[in-house]
Every structure is written in structure tokens, then in C-alpha cells.
């Protein structure tokens, strides 16, 4: 007996065959999960046709029971699996359609989240601090209202020096304490003296902060500005150490390919003294308007601490030597970021602040 014969002849088997064809058509025709559910209920629901067929098997004669039962169960297994697969496919399609309907304009601006910026001057001071901390320096501070002694005298500035005049230095009214030697520090160098008075060598410090000069504001002058001072005192410190230290700094600050040069200069509180130039950040040394055609930009004043200064703080000049340097933060900011006017740094215009 072939299976064809059994199927073809037997009414039970024929019904199974019909049901399968119908189910295949219903599955293929179901366009949505809802259609598919309807088909499932029709076939496998409580009153479904396959359910009814399965329930009818028990009433068949024993010889048919096995064959029809087996085929009906096979059909059921197939159908459940097919429903599952088709359902999965339909759900995927439906989800996809749903998601496509949730279209947004992705070019709309992102949600506003608060954002603020550090001031460029603070950012540069931090950058400088970090470079020197990496070289073993600590950060020192000192008062902005200073005494003549710390700002001038102990820094070996002669008492008749023109920078002490009322045209160059802001003096603070301290008449209540009966003094005339109170001023706004004209550089951060007095911190050197204060640090040396309070500590014994070896010492490696930098001192960032505000300084003041009696200048009418213009594009390159501001009565208030920021400096970073540096001081190293130890046994056996050399002029070569000063060179090496500042070269390292200049390359970290302005770029590894910068050339650095040291020109002899004069400052009252260092000897020998130097001005330090880096190759122009704009033209790279070819010469341009910013570097006045020289290819160099002056960024630092430096030198070996003058023995007279050590004398004021009671350091043994035979045992210790040291170097000191100072730089203008605004100048570095202006050079590095091409800012044409120092006053822009203190306007606090949000459109300026947000750029850095």
C-alpha cells in the first residue's frame, strides 16, 4: 500500500490533505499579525477545524486511528511551526513599519545641555603649571598688595629706579598704618623673595598670579595682567640648566618643532640675564608682521638669581645657585591664539569666552 493510495482513498486522510492546503493558503494570505491570528483560531482555536479533526480521531476505527492520528499530529506540528515563523516575519515587518513612521528630523539641534568654559588666562596658567609640575615644581602664591621691599628692594632694584614712580606703579593708600611703601605688585617676582624667606633650598617653585602696572589700556597694555614666575635654587644649578628647563617648557607650550634662543639681557635681580625667544608661531621663523620680521617672539625674561638677592634672604651664595624666570600669560595667550587686543581678555564677552 502506497501512501498515495491511503491518502487518496480515505476520507479522513483527504480532509487532512485539504486542511493542509487551506492552512498554507491562509498563512501565505495573512498580511498582518491579526490576519494570522484569525487563521490560527480557525484551525487551532477551541472550535478550530484541525482541533475538531483531532478530537474526532478517538471515534475512528482502530485501524484508521493510528494512521489518521499520526498524520493529523504531523499537520498540527507543522502548522504550529509555520504559524510561529510566519508570525515572526509579520511582527518584524510590522515593527519595521512602525519605526519608520517615527521619523524625526535628525538635523534639528541637540538638546541644550549646560556648558561653560574656563577663562583663557586660567587655562593657560593651568597648562604652564602642569608642565612645571611635571618637572618637579610646586605652585606658590603671594599677596597682590605688596611692600616696596618685596617688589623692588630685595629684588636688587635701586631705590631711584624709574619703574617705582607714580607713573609706573600703583600705590595703595596705607596712610592709616602710616606707610607709603605699599603698592600693587608690578610683577610676580616678590613671591620669589617670600618663598625664599620661608624655605631653605633646594626649592623648585612657580608662582602664577596677577600683576599691575600704571598703563592706560590699549591693544597691548592692560593695567592688570597675569604672570607666571619661576624659581629654582639648589646646589650646582647652572645657566645650562636654565636653558634646558625653558627650552623644554617652550616646546611643550608652543610645539616640539619650535626653535628657542637665549639672548643676553639685563634685569636687576638676575645675573647673567636673558630674554628668551621662540621661533614665530605665525610664520615659523620666516618673518611676518607679528614678529616684526625677525622670525622670533620674545616670551620670557630669565636669568641666574643675582647674589644680592640671595643676600637679602640670607642664602649662602657659595653653596647655592639658582635661576628665575617670568612670563606674561596674556602675551602667550595672544600669540598662541592670535588675539589682537589684550582688552578682549577682560571684556568677558560670551562670544569670546566660548571660543576657548
Amino acid at each position: 500500500m502506497t501512501s498515495d493510495e491511503t491518502r487518496g482513498d480515505d476520507p479522513g486522510m483527504r480532509e487532512i490533505e485539504l486542511l493542509r492546503e487551506e492552512a498554507e493558503a491562509a498563512l501565505a494570505g495573512a498580511g498582518s499579525s491579526a490576519d494570522l491570528e484569525e487563521a490560527r483560531v480557525n484551525l487551532l482555536g477551541r472550535k478550530g477545524r484541525l482541533t475538531a479533526l483531532l478530537q474526532g480521531i478517538k471515534d475512528l476505527p482502530p485501524d484508521k486511528k493510528r494512521m489518521v492520528g499520526m498524520q493529523a499530529n504531523l499537520l498540527k506540528d507543522w502548522l504550529e511551526k509555520a504559524l510561529e515563523e510566519r508570525g515572526e516575519e509579520l511582527r518584524r515587518r510590522e515593527l519595521d513599519a512602525e519605526l519608520r513612521a517615527e521619523k524625526v528630523d535628525v538635523t534639528l539641534p541637540g538638546r541644550h545641555l549646560p556648558f561653560g568654559t574656563r577663562h583663557l588666562v586660567s587655562a593657560i596658567i593651568e597648562e604652564i603649571e602642569d608642565i612645571f609640575i611635571g618637572m618637579g615644581y610646586r605652585v606658590a602664591e603671594g599677596p597682590e598688595v605688596e611692600l616696596d621691599y618685596y617688589n623692588f628692594e630685595a629684588l636688587n632694584t635701586p631705590h631711584w629706579h624709574p619703574s617705582k614712580s607714580l607713573q609706573d606703579t600703583f600705590y595703595v593708600d596705607a596712610s592709616a598704618s602710616g606707610r607709603e611703601d605699599v603698592l600693587l605688585r608690578t610683577h610676580t617676582s616678590p613671591v620669589q623673595i617670600r618663598v625664599m624667606e620661608a624655605t631653605t633650598p633646594p626649592l623648585y617653585v612657580i608662582a602664577p598670579g596677577k600683576a599691575y602696572r600704571h598703563d592706560v589700556p590699549d591693544a597691548t597694555h592692560s593695567p592688570m595682567f597675569h604672570q607666571v614666575e619661576g624659581l629654582a635654587v639648589d646646589e650646582g644649578i647652572t645657566l645650562g640648566d636654565l636653558k634646558g628647563t625653558l627650552e623644554h617648557f617652550a616646546r611643550r607650550m608652543f610645539g616640539e618643532d619650535r626653535a628657542v634662543r637665549f639672548r643676553p639681557h639685563f634685569f636687576p635681580f638676575t645675573e647673567p640675564s636673558a630674554e628668551v625667544d621662540v621661533s614665530c608661531v605665525i610664520c615659523g621663523g620666516e618673518g611676518c608682521r607679528v614678529c616684526k620680521g625677525t622670525g622670533w617672539l620674545e616670551i620670557l625674561g630669565a636669568g641666574m638669581v643675582d647674589p644680592n638677592v640671595f643676600g637679602y634672604v640670607g642664602y649662602d651664595t657659595e653653596k647655592f645657585s639658582g635661576f628665575a624666570f617670568g612670563m606674561g600669560v596674556e602675551r602667550i595667550a595672544m600669540l598662541k591664539y592670535g588675539i589682537p587686543d589684550i582688552r578682549y581678555l577682560f571684556d568677558n564677552d560670551l562670544r569670546f569666552l566660548a571660543q576657548f
Binding site: G116, R138, V172, L184, H214, P223, R261, F346
Partner: protein
């Protein structure tokens, strides 16, 4: 200092091109600020000889000249009064351009054609002289190039001389530097002075009454002079140096000053009473008229050169008008003196009067150079002005200033600079600068050189000064770069410094931008914010010499600066502004010279905290925005003990004004800016501010310590209670925490509601409570027990009832 290379080459041979020389000088401490080329624009101009001069047939003031400039003579019409046959003059042939760019063509002037132009110095662009055509001197060929004939092509180095190097304020000093740098020998000017009898001392007397201010005064007497113009070469060199030629005698004094560095002054001898020079301090109220025609009132601080009748010069600064050299001068009393630098600086500053002479004296002139400079000038007056030099220098010496001796330890210098240095290297460098090594010995500390320092180097006073010279001439660029080798270096920030950095980062992260404002403010700000000075000091720290009244007070608070910055932005239509600043304020301390300088952090916010967005409303700044900022800051810095206490401050909205406390101490304030202040300074009403001092904040920081995180499920319960308006949220929260005990893990206020059904003067506050235990899962019953306890406590404490 302007240095003509053509001139400089009189004293030292120079093989380098100007740029290379500039570079070498710069790298040895004499910074070259500019390199100027002179004599441009004379291309095509020629030397001409005037052959004939006849009057113009049709114009009285003009003449028609036949001029030879390399060919047969051509006719040129000329208006200059000084034109005469035989003279040599610059001529511009047709088709050439003058230095000012104008072109010369063939023109017809009143019927006579002119084939070129005879030129004045002004037309050549070399001086302001325009009264006549320039007369050329010497044996010049008509038709020769004018530029070559005038030797006008020159390069000028513009040098920045540092204040410690007065010796470099002259040609010879610069030549000495060049010689030291290149090894080319230095050639000092040499000359043989002819003198006539009787000796000058018979007609000149010098007395120094104030020897502290004048160590030496040399005078010479020169007779038979004819005042006139200096020769062209001298005028050219003076101009290249930036000095205006005047007449031969005055030019010679300036020329020698530029050459040797010694300022000189020439008096008309006939106008100096009795030829008697008295050097003395001015008496109080004494007056004199200086060369510039200004009458000056003097004090006893000023040094004068006088004759028996009164002042003839302001010593070292400027001569007197009365004894000035004039066209009729034939006898000159020449002054070459040494004055005290500090006194000259003082005088120059007090009187607001400076000159080439005072500039040099205040930096320090070689006290040994007086006589030599007087001789040199006398020689030139003989050569160039027909002078006869009377025998001898009348030399009044009040004090002897002699050369000094220094020792240099060679090995120590080498170590200090960080270079290998042999004795002969050190010696060579010192000697190239005319320092004499008198002796060399070997001591405990190695080789020691005894060095004699000439008087023209007053800056060399100590061993270190010699070390600097060695380093400078050796070349900083040849010193190897090293790093300090010490092991005693630990780079770090203090906890306080770290905390400040953290604070700035937190504030920026919260959307505030950092501002930096100027430390001096107008006192008006304090009057505006705090008229009765309840908060700010009554007597703030003031400047004695402010730039203006707007910046006469050192800020006792960062607030004025920040409000200015807000206004700056608001005025530019940037309406949403949130700024912070960290900086020092200045508070007077009774009896102290220096004020207290607390480090403050301040915030000022206005407009919207979150701006209106495409799908959301704006969130305007209010009291709670700035309070939120403070709470975030305190949390980030781990400052748990920070509280706000109601207190009315004069510049804050009276009901939204708080004192910020750390523990029991005040650390600052926070609130909404008083509407009165907002209106006065043109800021929107919703401007919120806070300002706190950093030190108490830093002190109150607590290192975070692990607090157990619940591992068992927590129970979340909401509690909404109705209380009277007078009850503070904070009080309720504290009562909840207390009653909730340790099972209450967290309390958060999430709703505030007012409405009719609650009744007049009532509000509802809703809290989310989180209960949990660390060792077990809490049951509802347990949590409910505590919840009920809380409700009871709130009822008893505040009359709170549960909201239905």
C-alpha cells in the same frame, strides 16, 4: 642708539653683512631692533657743475644756469639764491624721479626751457634745508652718480642698549663689542692736537663747589673759530645717528659725544663772565632759561654750571640760552665733565627734560674720559672750524675715580655657566673687552684671575659680573642645555590648589563661563550695592594714583566686576549669561599695611538658565538656580556642612537673600539681586548671585568614606503632607529623617503644591521615601511602621496632615 656702519668701520673692520652683524650683536646682549638702509631713491641723480648763471629775462627771482652733468652744458632754470658759477650741485636730469616720487620733465618756465632741476637737501630727502640748492664739496666729476658722491649709501643698526651698559652708548663702545665678537682689532681715533700759548688756564677758571655731584670738570678754550655749516660727511653721520646738524661747533660736540660717549657742551666764551665756571647746586627758587627757551624754576636738588653772575647751564641736561653758540661766536669754552648719574636722572625726571647728554650721564659716563674727549673735540674744531686751541686742559678734579680690581675663579665660572672653560679662554674673552688680567694664581679653588676693570665699565662690580661677560661673549647659544639633576624635586599641587581647580571645573560643567575682571572698581559700585556699608568695608582699600576714579578702589568683592560683565553681555543682546570668577578681594586690616586678600568664588547669572528650545520651554534663572549651583559645588568638593540661613543683605531681594554658612561661620551670601540694583545697573530682574570665600570651604572638606550600598530590595513610598505656609521644607525633611531612623535610606522632596482645596495659607509637600535594610529584605509592615511614625512626628511637630 643708531649706529651707522659706514662710521663704525672707522674703528673696526667688519666682514659680516649687516644682517649677520645684527644677529651677532643681538646674541651678545645688544639687541638690534631694526636695520635701516639709507640713501635709497637717489638713482639717476647726478653731480652737476654750474658753468654760467644769467638772470631770467622774464622773472626777477629766477636765473638761467648752464649746467654740466656729463656732456656739454644744458640750460636749467633755478630759483635758488645761492646758485653761482663754478659750484657743484645735485642735478636731476629729465625723466628721473626724486625721492618723493615726483618726476622731472622738460618744462618751459616763462618762456625759457629748463632741461632738468638743481636740487636742495630737502628735495633730496636728506634734511629740511630748502633755502638754497645743496652745495657739494670735494673733487667730484660732473655727471658722477650723486649717491656715490655723497657716500650716502649706508646701513644703520638701531640698537637697544640695556641700562647697565652705558659704555655701549657710543660708536667706540659698539666697535669694542664687535671687536670682542669677531676678533677684528679695535682702532681708537688717533690725532695730534696743535696747541697755542698762552695756556687756557690764564683765561679759564673752574671751581667745583658740590663735589658729590661732579667728580671732574675739564675745560678747554678754543679761539679764532668761524661758525658755519659742518662738512657734509659729519652732517651725514650725525643725521644717520638721529642728531640734527646745527653748526660746526655744536656738531663737533655732538659728534664726539656719539664717537666717545662723553657729552660735551660749548659755551660762547665771551658770554661766560670772567671765563669763570662754578659748579654748584641751585639755590631754592633760582631760575634760568634753558636752550629750548623755557624758563625753569629750580630747587636745591639740581646741579648748575654757573659763572659769577648766575647759571649758564643745567649741568648734564641742557645748556643755557644766554651762553649759546651763535653766528658771531669766535671763542668757545668747551666743557667735558662727569656728573652723578642719580642726580641727573632725578633732575631730568623732575623737570621733564631729557637730552642725549642727560640720557648718557644718568646711565654713567666714563669718569676717566673727560680730557680725551675735550682734546678730540678741540682737534676737530681746529680741523673743521679754523679754531686755535689754547694750551692745556683746565682740569678740576673733585674726586678720583680709578679703575677697580676683581677676582675671577675660572673653574667656578665654568661650573656656574655649565661649560668647559680653560684659563686662556677666560683670559681671551676678558681681554677682548679691554679688561686687563693683571695676575693669575692657582689657589684652593683653582685658577684665580686678578682683573682690572676700566672706568668705562661701571657695571662690573663683582665676580658674577665677570662671569656674565664670559657667558655673553662665549655665547649663550653654545652653552649646552641641561636639566637640574637634583633628586629633591617633587612636583605637585596642594590640596587647596587642587580643590580650586576642581571648583572651576565643576562650575564650568554646570554651564557657567569663567570671567576675569579687573581688581580695581569704582567706589560708586559699593554705594550702589551697599549704601550703609553693612556688608562691605566702610573704608575700602584705595589707590593713591588710580588711572581714573572708575578704578580707584580695590574690590572688596568680585560682585561689581561680574555684574559689569553681565551688563557688557546684556548690552550686546546676549541675554542669557552665567558667569563665575575666582580671585582675590581686598579687605582692610586695622593697623596693617597690607590688606587681607581672601580668595573668593562668585557667580552671577541672568536671563535663562536653559534657553527656549524647539520643543521645550526656557528655564529662567531664579533663586533656586544659583542655589542648585552652590549645592552641586558643595557636593563635588565634599563639603557636607554647608547651609543657607535667611538674612537680608542690602543688595539682595529681601525675601530671597541668604547667608552661606560653613558650620557656624559665614562663608558668603547667595540670593536674587535686589530689583532696585537690577534697575539701577540695567540688568534684568531675574539676576541671581552668590559669593563665597574659599578658605572655609577648603577647611570644611571631608574625605569621602565608603557608605554601604543596599544590596537588598528597597521600598519606595510617597508621603504628601499639608502644612502651614510658615513651615520650611528643610525642617520637615529633618523631622522625617529623625523619625525614619536608620532604615530610611533617602528622602527627596519632589512636589510642592498650593491650591484652593488645601485652604488658605496651606501648602502640600510631597516626599519620596526610600526604606531599606542592609542585612535583609524589608517587609511592607516594617516600612509601614516607620512611615506611620514619620506621619505622627510631622503631625505633632508641624500640624501636618496627610494629603488625601
Amino acid at each position: 642708539m643708531r649706529v651707522s656702519l659706514e662710521w663704525l668701520k672707522d674703528y673696526v673692520d667688519i666682514d659680516l653683512d649687516p644682517q649677520e652683524l645684527a644677529e651677532r650683536l643681538t646674541m651678545a646682549g645688544t639687541a638690534v631692533e631694526g636695520v635701516e638702509r639709507l640713501g635709497g631713491g637717489l638713482e639717476g641723480l647726478l653731480v652737476g657743475r654750474v658753468l654760467e648763471v644769467r638772470p631770467h629775462p622774464d622773472a626777477d627771482r629766477l636765473s638761467v644756469c648752464k649746467v654740466d652733468f656729463g656732456g656739454q652744458g644744458v640750460e636749467i632754470v633755478c630759483g635758488a639764491p645761492n646758485v653761482r658759477p663754478g659750484m657743484l650741485a645735485p642735478v636731476a636730469p629729465p625723466g628721473v624721479r626724486l625721492p618723493d616720487g615726483s618726476a622731472i620733465g622738460e618744462v618751459t618756465i616763462r618762456g625759457v626751457s629748463s632741461h632738468g632741476m638743481l636740487l636742495s637737501e630737502r628735495e633730496l630727502g636728506i634734511s629740511d634745508e630748502a633755502a638754497g640748492i645743496m652745495e657739494l664739496e670735494g673733487d667730484l666729476e660732473p655727471g658722477a652718480s650723486l649717491a656715490r658722491a655723497l657716500e650716502i649709501e649706508d646701513t644703520v643698526l638701531v640698537l637697544e642698549i640695556t641700562p647697565n651698559r652705558p659704555d655701549c652708548l657710543c660708536m667706540l663702545g659698539i666697535a669694542r663689542e664687535v671687536s670682542a665678537l669677531t676678533g677684528a682689532p679695535l682702532r681708537k681715533p688717533s690725532f695730534v692736537l696743535r696747541e697755542i700759548d698762552p695756556p687756557a688756564a690764564e683765561d679759564v677758571l673752574v671751581e667745583i663747589l658740590d663735589p658729590d655731584l661732579c667728580s671732574r670738570y675739564c675745560a678747554r678754550l678754543i679761539e679764532g673759530l668761524t661758525i658755519g655749516a659742518s662738512p657734509w660727511w659729519m652732517r651725514r653721520r650725525l643725521r644717520a645717528a638721529g642728531v640734527r646738524p646745527i653748526n660746526n661747533v655744536v656738531d663737533i660736540t655732538n659728534y664726539v659725544m656719539l664717537e666717545l660717549g662723553q657729552p660735551l657742551h660749548a659755551f660762547d666764551y665771551e658770554l661766560v663772565t670772567d671765563g669763570h665756571i662754578i659748579v654748584r647746586r641751585a639755590s631754592a627758587g633760582e631760575r634760568m632759561v634753558t636752550l629750548d627757551g623755557v624758563e625753569r624754576a629750580l630747587s636745591t636738588d639740581e646741579l648748575l654750571i654757573c659763572d659769577p653772575k648766575g647759571p649758564v647751564a643745567l649741568a648734564g641736561v641742557m645748556g643755557g640760552e644766554h651762553t649759546e653758540i651763535n653766528a658771531g661766536t669766535t671763542r668757545v669754552l668747551l666743557e667735558s665733565a662727569h656728573f652723578d648719574p642719580a642726580n641727573i636722572m632725578r633732575t631730568s625726571r623732575t623737570l621733564g627734560l631729557s637730552s642725549e647728554a642727560s640720557y648718557r650721564f644718568e646711565r654713567g659716563v666714563d669718569p676717566s674720559g673727560c680730557a680725551r674727549a675735550a682734546d678730540r673735540a678741540a682737534f676737530l674744531m681746529d680741523e673743521l672750524a679754523g679754531g686755535k686751541v689754547r694750551r692745556g686742559v683746565v682740569d678740576a678734579r673733585a674726586r678720583e675715580i680709578s679703575s677697580s680690581r676683581l677676582t675671577l675663579r675660572v673653574e667656578r665660572a665654568a661650573r656656574f655657566i655649565g661649560i668647559p672653560l680653560r684659563e686662556q679662554d677666560a683670559r681671551a674673552i676678558l681681554e677682548s673687552l679691554e679688561l686687563k688680567v693683571k695676575e693669575s694664581r692657582c689657589g684652593e679653588q683653582g685658577t684665580v684671575l686678578e682683573v682690572e676693570v676700566p672706568t668705562f665699565r661701571p657695571d662690573l662690580e663683582r665676580e658674577i659680573d665677570l662671569v656674565e661677560e664670559i657667558a655673553r661673549i662665549y655665547g649663550y647659544d653654545r652653552v649646552p642645555s641641561t636639566l637640574p639633576s637634583s633628586a629633591h624635586k617633587v612636583g605637585m599641587l596642594t590640596p587647596g590648589q587642587k580643590c580650586r581647580r576642581e571648583a572651576a571645573r565643576v562650575l564650568a560643567g554646570l554651564g557657567l563661563s569663567e570671567a576675569v575682571t579687573v581688581s580695581f572698581i569704582s567706589e560708586r559700585w559699593l554705594d550702589r550695592l551697599d549704601p550703609s556699608r553693612a556688608v562691605f568695608p566702610e573704608d575700602p582699600v584705595r589707590l593713591r594714583n588710580p588711572l581714573s576714579e572708575d578704578g580707584a578702589v580695590l574690590r572688596p568683592s568680585l560682585l561689581p566686576g561680574l555684574l559689569e560683565a553681565l551688563r557688557f553681555n546684556v548690552n550686546r543682546r546676549l541675554s542669557d549669561v552665567s558667569l563665575f570668577e575666582m580671585g582675590r578681594a581686598f579687605l582692610p586690616l586695622a593697623g596693617e599695611a597690607q590688606p587681607r586678600e581672601p580668595l573668593l568664588v562668585a557667580c552671577a547669572m541672568t536671563g535663562n538658565w536653559v534657553p527656549k528650545q524647539w520643543d521645550g520651554a526656557a528655564q529662567p534663572v531664579d533663586f533656586f538656580t544659583v542655589k542648585g549651583v552652590l549645592e552641586r559645588l558643595a557636593a563635588a568638593l565634599h563639603v557636607p556642612g554647608l547651609t543657607l540661613v535667611r538674612e537680608e543683605l542690602p543688595f539682595l531681594h529681601p525675601s530671597q537673600s541668604c547667608r552661606v554658612r560653613v558650620g557656624e561661620a559665614s562663608a558668603g551670601y547667595l540670593g536674587l539681586l535686589h530689583p532696585r540694583v537690577c534697575d539701577e545697573v540695567d540688568l534684568p530682574r531675574n539676576t541671581a548671585v552668590m559669593e563665597i570665600e574659599f578658605a572655609p570651604l577648603e577647611e570644611a572638606r571631608e574625605e569621602p568614606y565608603y557608605r554601604e550600598v543596599p544590596r537588598h530590595p528597597a521600598l519606595h513610598m510617597d508621603l504628601a503632607v499639608v502644612v502651614g505656609e510658615e513651615v520650611d521644607a528643610e525642617e520637615l525633611e529633618e523631622a522625617i529623617r529623625e523619625a525614619g531612623g536608620e532604615l530610611l535610606y533617602e528622602v527627596r522632596l519632589f512636589d510642592l503644591y498650593r491650591g484652593e482645596q488645601l485652604g488658605e495659607g496651606k501648602k502640600s509637600l510631597a516626599f519620596n521615601l526610600v526604606f531599606c535594610a542592609m542585612d535583609r529584605t524589608l517587609t511592607d509592615e516594617e516600612a509601614r511602621k516607620y512611615f506611620d511614625r514619620i506621619v505622627k512626628a510631622l503631625g505633632a511637630g508641624f500640624g501636618a496632615r496627610l494629603r488625601a
